[in-house]
Every structure is written in structure tokens, then in C-alpha cells.
């Protein structure tokens, strides 16, 4: 704690995971997240953990499935196409109630797309991503420092509710360097309790099974419903957000991750121009901070979602506020970071449009 280090977002995330007790990492090279496996390749042996460069993203997530089943804090990271490949394994982890932790350093898509920072993987992250009914705890850092500090939260929430957790980052935050302070005591991995469900050496205790199937009639439904109970608890207790200049705002910019920084530039610019603009940033994307955003929506004339995609989070914004006010969209897909100036333009348009031409409930 205490010391400020100038670190790349990707390096900060890797180090943050290690300090949070991660002792198993498996991954496969893909830009723009290569720093994470590179960092782990020397850092893991240093702390007595295991690092494996897997033959594919598919193998990596399944290695995690095995490692997490033994109760160790584990991690894999990738970027969009690689995360698509991991979805099957993530679904199995969700189905086996394994608290794996993974990161998506998102790039432009679909397909091979490009390697610039983007936000086109929002739906995939917050709606499950793989097959079946499940949810993943999703955190969206907007700085290198948060990249370093969020892994611990992911482990804690993931283990408490036995759900997969992830950091949804992007190429820009992954590649940029910023001062980073790790704001938590380094976790002593050896002192972490071994979960009561973990498989491994088993002298004298009943055998344990980890798996995601139950073919008996009606049993799978019970299993999924029990999990859904935990999902509700996560939704009630674990939503995180932050806001600025919300008190007198007429319009509020809603954005996460790197887009929230572009929005912040826009808010400052707009305020200088006398526009009453506020700023709201979901820090967890699932659970989405519904209640907080609803409170904001009660006081403002409209919202403007700013996203590096065709507009995906905007759906959650509308659902959260139940279309109480119009929600406009400033969308830059394909790996383009909007400037503050262009967002202010959209603010002006939105203010002019009023409620009638609102983009809400399209």
C-alpha cells in the first residue's frame, strides 16, 4: 500500500490479481492483453503459483475450471475473440458454481475486428455470454489504478456468491500507463480458507463432486433457482457506481470504462459552456446500479448514454429507469474513442430534441 507506481493497466491488473491472492493463471496471446500473460509468466513462479501458456483460449478456461475447483484463486485474461472462445468454459464454471476470475481487454469487433479499445462486448458480459441461465459479476474499471484494485473485489464477490467474476476493460485502459496505488493489504494466499466444496486430497472426509449437470427430472431447475437466489442478492448488495455534478444537472451522461473518461471531459467542457450536465458511471455492469440511476432519472430531463459500441449499455439504462425520461445515445463502434467536443455536440442536440424526439424505447 501507499507507493504510487507508473504502470500499464494490463500490468496493474496482473499485479493486482497476484496481490489479491491469485495463484493460478492460464492464458493465450492476443492483443491488446498480452502484457497480462507476460507479467504472470514471471510473477506467478515468484509467488509459488502456476502459470501456463495454454494451447488455446478454450484450453485456458478449462484449466481454470480445474484449478478453481481446487479452491485456488485463479485468473485468465483475453481480448474479445478469445473471450468468445472461452464462453463455453465460463458457462460450465457458472454451472458448477466456481468463482473463476477473468478479464476481457476488449478490442473492436465483430470478427477479428481491430485491436483498438472498444466496448462491443457489453451484452456478452452482462447477459451471461455462454449458454444457459447465468450471470457474471462484471466490473468496469476506468483507470490503470482501478485495474489494479478491482481483482480483489472480483475474488471476494465471486467467492461469496459462488459466481464467475470479470473485469470488462478495453485496449485503451489496458495499454495506458498511469500512477497506480494498490489500496489494499496484500492477501496471503496461504491463509485463504479452503472452501468446503473444493476438490483435492481428501483423507477422511466425504468425497466431493464438481460439475454442472443434473439429468434427473426437475433437479436442474432447482439448481438454477437456488443460484438465481444468489443472483438476486448480488443485485441487491453489490452494485457500485459513481456520479459527479448530479445535483443541478438537466442532462446526465451515462457511461462506463474508458467512455466514462471521454464523458468526463465532455462534462467539464459543457459546464464551462454553461450547460447543466452531470455524469453517472456504473462501476459494476452486472449488477447494474438500477436504483441509483433511477434516483438520478427522477431529477433530470434526459440521459445521454455514451458508448464505444452501437449502443448496448443503453438497454440497461432504459430498463433501469423504466423509460422514465428520454435516453439519447452517442455511439462510436469499431474502436473509436469519442472526444469531449463531439459528446458536447450530442448533449446540445439532446437538449434541443426535448422529450418528443427522444431515442427512448425505439
Amino acid at each position: 500500500m501507499g507507493e504510487k507506481l507508473l504502470m500499464k493497466g494490463n500490468d496493474a491488473m496482473a499485479e493486482g490479481a497476484v496481490r489479491a491472492g491469485c495463484r493460478f493463471f492460464a492464458g493465450y496471446p492476443i492483443t491488446p492483453q498480452n502484457e497480462v500473460p507476460e507479467y504472470m509468466s514471471w510473477r506467478m513462479p515468484e509467488v509459488g503459483g502456476a502459470f501456463i501458456q495454454a494451447e488455446s483460449e478454450v484450453a485456458a478456461i478449462n484449466m481454470l475450471f480445474g484449478a478453481a475447483a481446487t479452491g485456488v484463486r485463479s485468473m485468465t485474461s483475453s481480448s474479445s475473440p478469445g473471450i468468445s472462445l472461452k464462453q463455453e468454459g465460463i458457462s460450465y464454471c457458472a454451472g458448477a458454481d466456481l468463482p473463476i476470475f477473468f478479464a476481457n481487454v476488449v478490442r473492436g469487433g465483430p470478427g477479428l475486428g481491430n485491436i483498438a479499445g472498444a466496448q462491443g462486448d457489453y451484452f456478452q458480459s452482462v447477459r451471461g455470454g455462454g449458454h444457459g441461465d447465468y450471470r457474471t459479476f462484471v466490473m468496469a474499471p476506468n483507470s490503470a489504478e482501478e485495474m489494479g484494485n478491482f481483482p480483489l473485489k472480483c475474488y471476494e464477490v465471486g467467492e461469496k456468491y459462488r459466481v464467475p467474476s470479470m473485469i470488462l476493460s478495453d485496449g485503451t485502459i489496458g495499454q495506458m500507463m498511469e500512477p497506480v496505488e494498490f489500496k489494499f493489504e496484500t492477501v496471503d494466499a496461504k491463509k485463504l480458507p479452503i472452501p468446503e466444496w473444493a476438490i483435492g486430497a481428501n483423507p477422511g472426509r466425504p468425497r466431493r463432486m464438481v460439475g454442472s449437470y443434473d439429468l434427473r427430472e426437475g433437479e436442474l431447475e432447482k439448481m438454477v433457482l437456488a443460484r438465481a437466489k444468489r443472483y438476486r442478492e448480488v443485485e441487491e448488495k453489490e452494485a457500485l457506481w459513481e456520479g459527479k455534478m448530479l445535483d443541478d444537472a438537466e442532462i446526465v451522461l451515462v457511461s462506463y470504462g474508458i467512455a466514462s473518461r471521454a464523458s468526463l471531459a465532455a462534462m467539464k467542457l459543457a459546464r464551462e459552456q454553461g450547460l447543466k450536465v452531470g455524469w453517472f458511471r456504473p462501476i459494476t455492469l452486472w449488477p447494474f446500479p438500477k436504483k441509483a440511476l433511477t434516483d438520478v432519472a427522477k431529477r433530470v430531463k434526459s440521459l445521454l448514454a455514451v458508448e464505444l459500441s452501437l449502443g448496448q449499455m443503453i438497454d440497461d439504462v432504459k430498463l433501469a429507469i423504466d423509460c422514465r425520461v428520454p435516453v439519447h445515445l452517442h455511439a462510436r463502434p469499431g474502436g473509436v474513442l469519442p472526444t469531449g467536443e463531439e459528446i458536447v455536440e450530442s448533449v446540445r442536440k439532446a437538449l434541443k430534441a426535448g422529450s418528443k424526439e427522444a431515442a427512448c424505447c425505439r
Binding site: 504510487k4 507508473l6 492483443t31 491488446p32 481491430n114 485491436i115 483498438a116 485496449g171 485503451t172 495499454q175 495506458m176 500507463m177 498511469e178 500512477p179 474508458i258 473518461r261 471521454a262 468526463l264 471531459a265 467539464k268 474513442l337 472526444t339 469531449g340
Partner: protein, 177 residues
């Protein structure tokens, strides 16, 4: 105070390390800083460029679209980055390697023979430090001291003699007006 910088040149000219060094020095000076490398296909083409922000306030975006200062270390970078400089901004050109001259009249242009000056100190490898010296002198965004302090943190494997030579190059760069 806000200073958005783009540095561009060939891979191997120390473009990335210059950017990291500026950001580190800014951090040691108590500023808010960001460093962002172009990590795209450009990297493969042998050119490198990066964005650095040094600010007294939070930095909103790390990608400097309209730089206050551009440092151009090779010929192709001039055409690419000259148009981006903010009106009234600063364009530092490594005149040892860049033959073309800029067209813009609304910005300050500083020609610095970085390679020549570095060579005179013993090695062209420190041409980037000459450019940083000129930048520091022109903008006052940082002190040479702060950069000197950041050097051992960024160039972890450099010998003390090399670091000393780097400081000399910074000071040399500061002499160009």
C-alpha cells in the same frame, strides 16, 4: 496546467521510453499523468508514437487528439502529426533527420538537430533526450531535475554513466531556442 504531448519517430529512437519518462517525471512532480502508446499496426511498420498528458487536474482521456506539443523525430512523422498540433501549440522537429519543413504558421516551430547534438555528446542513442530537453525548456511543464530523478525508475538496467549522459543531453536540448 495541462500539457498534451505526442511523440513520434522510428522504432528504436526511444519514442516509447521518452513518453514513459515524461509521464514518470510528471508523476514525481505531483502531477496527474497518463501515457498511451500507439500499439496498432503502426508498431509493426517500424514507426512508434505515443501520447503523454501532464496535468494539474484529473486526466480525462489518455489519447491526445489535439496536442499542445508534438515532437517529431523522423520524416514520416512530420506529415502525420503537423496537422494535429493545437493552434498556438509547439512543434519540435529533429532537424538532423527531418528534411521537410512544416507549412503551418499558427504554431511555434522549433528545429532541434537532436542526432547531431547527441552525437557530439558521444552517441546518437540519446537524441530523444535532446528533444525532451528542448520540450522542457519551451513549455516549463516539468523540470530537468524531475526527468533526471525518473530516469533510474524507467531505465532500470542503465549504467550510471549512461544516465549522466542522458542528463547532459537534456541540458543540451534546453539550449535550443
Amino acid at each position: 496546467m495541462y500539457q498534451g504531448i505526442r511523440i513520434s519517430g522510428f522504432g528504436g529512437q526511444g519514442i516509447i521510453s521518452s513518453g514513459v519518462l515524461l509521464a514518470y517525471a510528471g508523476m514525481l512532480d505531483g502531477r496527474h499523468v497518463t501515457f498511451f502508446p500507439a500499439y496498432g499496426a503502426e508498431m509493426r511498420g517500424g514507426t512508434a508514437n505515443c501520447s503523454v498528458v501532464i496535468s494539474s487536474d484529473d486526466v480525462s482521456t489518455p489519447v491526445v487528439a489535439q496536442p499542445d506539443t508534438v515532437i517529431v523525430m523522423n520524416e514520416p512523422s512530420l506529415a502525420k502529426f503537423e496537422p494535429l498540433v493545437k493552434p498556438g501549440g509547439l512543434l519540435i522537429i529533429n532537424s538532423s533527420l527531418v528534411e521537410s519543413r512544416p507549412k503551418r504558421k499558427d504554431i511555434k516551430i522549433l528545429l532541434v538537430p537532436c542526432n547531431k547534438a547527441a552525437q557530439e555528446l558521444g552517441t546518437a542513442r540519446i537524441a530523444n533526450m535532446v528533444a525532451l530537453g528542448a520540450f522542457v525548456k519551451q513549455t516549463g511543464a516539468l523540470s530537468i531535475d524531475a526527468i533526471a530523478k525518473a530516469m533510474p525508475k524507467v531505465f532500470k538496467r542503465a549504467k550510471p554513466e549512461m544516465l549522466e549522459l542522458n542528463v547532459k543531453a537534456l541540458k543540451k536540448g534546453a539550449e535550443f531556442n
